[in-house]
Subunit: 337 residues, 2 copies
Amino acid sequence: MKKSDIVRTLLKNRYRHAPLHSSATAYAPSNIALCKYWGKRDQELNLPVTSSLSISLANKGSFTELSLTQNPNDVVFVNGQQLDLNSSFGKRLQAYFDLFRVKSSLFFETNIKTNIPIGAGLASSACGFASMVMALNALFGWELKENELSILARLGSGSASRSLWHGFVEWRAGEQSDGLDSFGELIADTWPEFCVGLLIITEAEKEISSRVAMQRTVTTSPLYSAWPLKVKNDLSTLKRAIGSKDFRLLGETAESNALTMHATMLSAWPPVFYALPETITLMKKIWALREQGFMLFFTQDAGPNLKLLFLEKDAEAVQREFPHVDIIKPFKQTSKE
Amino acid sequence: MKKSDIVRTLLKNRYRHAPLHSSATAYAPSNIALCKYWGKRDQELNLPVTSSLSISLANKGSFTELSLTQNPNDVVFVNGQQLDLNSSFGKRLQAYFDLFRVKSSLFFETNIKTNIPIGAGLASSACGFASMVMALNALFGWELKENELSILARLGSGSASRSLWHGFVEWRAGEQSDGLDSFGELIADTWPEFCVGLLIITEAEKEISSRVAMQRTVTTSPLYSAWPLKVKNDLSTLKRAIGSKDFRLLGETAESNALTMHATMLSAWPPVFYALPETITLMKKIWALREQGFMLFFTQDAGPNLKLLFLEKDAEAVQREFPHVDIIKPFKQTSKE
């Protein structure tokens, strides 16, 4: 099935309607998975093998301005710099716009501002595509429901399906081949004391894209077969931990889930290893602090940077131990919403 | 089943025979697994979940002098230093000697000399117990067969079952509960050009013993269930690679096997991570060299040190890239045999 079929199905009689407005803006937070999305059951539609669960990063995310242009081409600015449309991301974004061109002469001008490093495992494509979908929805006046927006965001980037909300979000894998049952859903629970700390080791773009690494893992790792059951158990544990505000249970489960995802990559061939030496130094420091009774956990995505998980009462101590940490309070800093 | 039952079964009418000589000496090489032993099906008898395959390290190993003593206690020297019998290794060795005390008043004096770091993932216990078993066999005059010696060595340390020979050795897991079908066997093929390079990052003893790490992996890693099939495939591939002298196939399989073993540890809880930052730096250097066409692979055991695998024609280049490497030619340096 093709992306354009899904868009046609979702938009129904609004498909190919002209934009209602000449410009629109939207903000979407980045999100960090506590239970990871790793492996696709459909490459074209970004349908995952397993469900996943994330926490949105409040005021860390993407702000998208979208308008129509008279130019005979899309015009894209990322953080004020014009994007080469022949670059990898340029092509990807144009192909995404193709899904929504009412006529072949309709082109978009967009200005994406993001306050997190791009392509460094900080879900820049998640917030980027989520904010783009919200801006498209406003521009065209589609008035889509949240789950429909989530599906459209997923067509841009899998984890974008989780970036339409603040707070904890579950992306259900779904079972249908058209993926119309595969979208994010907000988990109602809030946890004001919950903190995420970004430990940025490098803002450099990763050498292997998550897309490539994921696919290599699925096709070559002898351990991948055990991953779906691990996710099933971790998801259920994480939801229980969120419901009962059991931070230790949440932290242990999230860290174990991340390490197990990296374990599946380490066993792929050629091996995929996102950690840098500094990543290992930080991991060992976190483990040593935990040995001392510190309630501090981490998660790691397709990049060398770590994300700390802790409660607000420990924020000062975390700042002291990790002077460069960027602390986010997902339930207290949603001003850019 | 207890170790003493196995010893009694193996020694038959020689069980409790007095020593034939007053002293004996033996040498056994250390060995590095190309297909790892990771997980026990019997803790007491060191029976493995899977078979494994190793290369012996020629003149890197243990030289054991064994004699009877009039002291009312065992006396153990390791590299010239007297061992505290209440230390972890002291207790382990005494319990091993208990298996062979003809009468309760018989005590051993032993001097173990080893030319590799102890407890740092370089199979010091493998060569230590293998040389001890050979010395015991000589002292008592048992005239045991190699497979019987291998079983006795296994009772001391699992991987010791592979240290009775030079060259490639397969340790067959066996199926019996008494483990009498679980012993090492020499693979007849030799490969004179085959080299191993020790990259010692630290000689410090590891924080978590392989015994503990292995058991934690078996009981807590969600990925361990996929390990036995990985080993089955790798073993068959490695034997094919040795038979046809296909170095690339051997190297890729050995490296992938090691990384997959470490992947099962990374997914255990609490996670077990033997790599140090320097280990990662070296791994990335090896991968970068391979990208340039260099036929260089590594394996890693329960410690941060790496062991390079390459052919003799590349020895000079390896020495240039890794000035501190200690190069071993397993089929050319067996003078201490």
